[in-house]
Symmetry: C2
Amino acid sequence: MKKTSNKKNKIPEPTILRLSAYRRALQDYKEQSAAKFVSSRQLGELANRNASIVRKDLSYFGEYGMPSKGYEIDHLLDQIVNIMNVKQQHAVALVGVGNLGKALLGYPGFKKQGFSIEVAFDNNAIKIGKKIQEIKVRNLKDLPLEVAKREIKISFITVPAVAAQEVANLLVEAGMRAIINFTPARIWVPPKVILRHVDLTRELEVVSYYLGK
Amino acid sequence: MKKTSNKKNKIPEPTILRLSAYRRALQDYKEQSAAKFVSSRQLGELANRNASIVRKDLSYFGEYGMPSKGYEIDHLLDQIVNIMNVKQQHAVALVGVGNLGKALLGYPGFKKQGFSIEVAFDNNAIKIGKKIQEIKVRNLKDLPLEVAKREIKISFITVPAVAAQEVANLLVEAGMRAIINFTPARIWVPPKVILRHVDLTRELEVVSYYLGK
DNA sequence: AGCTGTGAAGTCATTCACAGCC
DNA sequence: GGCTGTGAATGACTTCACAGCT
């Protein structure tokens, strides 16, 4: 038998995305069913994928299945949790308490998936000191101290687009290791920092395109 | 010269996504520069892509460029706007005025890109009748009438996950042509309805994975 | 000389199909 | 008999490289 996780092989990003879908599907499934095992076909159905890709995705990381039985659900969940590095909660900082920032502060889905927004910043004096959903809004100037104190590695940028780059610089300066940019602005960070982009209008535009066909 | 848009050739979805990025990049660029033309290389830089893919993407739809000059910015913008079918604003209905729903109602980015949330629904008596950002919250029961009256074709689902499928059914029944699901729930709609999914924790999970490497 | 448009080549991801195991 | 794990085959998307136009 092989000696588990081949860290050498590069994992396709789509695989990572599906892995998180499998995790959710399994969590839901566990609540609805008493089954101990799930086959690649079943899991595929739960996550809207075909069985082959499920097996291939999982096989990048190890041999978790048993011939003729499938995958033991609890074990597989543990493995995926490990792979995705969500065994413990991740603390997140949020910069920009406008409409979107407030919404993300109030969105329960993050915590459920293992991410908790621990601190929020703004530079608007009227907002500073207020509490949104139990989280006190702090002065942007205190960002370096706060994130150092709390060892926060991940930040959301939810400021207006024009300020996005400036905030990103601040975050990098403060030692942030990953940034998720919710603004439409394109920003640059040094390669050691993981940068991802959430674009809320993306799917709308795709829809618009297909409606025109 | 060829006779423009080859509707037969299937367009890769990544192309559609990039097209919307090109549009934004061009809009921004227009505001900052007096240039009349842009080359595929320049546009690529603006949108973080390489020149080849820019040319390839545009070539699916026609021959918009001029040898040795590049693409005329205004003309290219018009063409992309046509392709993406965003010449006129699209009306959008929103179902579920919780945290996320409220945020989307207050998010100015949609209107800027040609989408305007025209009507919002909830089934919570306390919320019905209230106004959020100029939009009156209506009784979910009135959805069929309202969307018919306003000829709305696109809806956001921002209800709690457990109610997502039920709302989707309602929307399909009411003749909606496209649905954007902001809940983590996986939902089913008939194939004639365009279904897209926005998952706010997706990028967080990807980040978590890479932080663990 | 500079830049587009596009076949051809190359790269990456998914699906097939089947040997091996329970 | 049923299901995994995985090379091989296929398919999708991107990049290369260059002919042709201005």
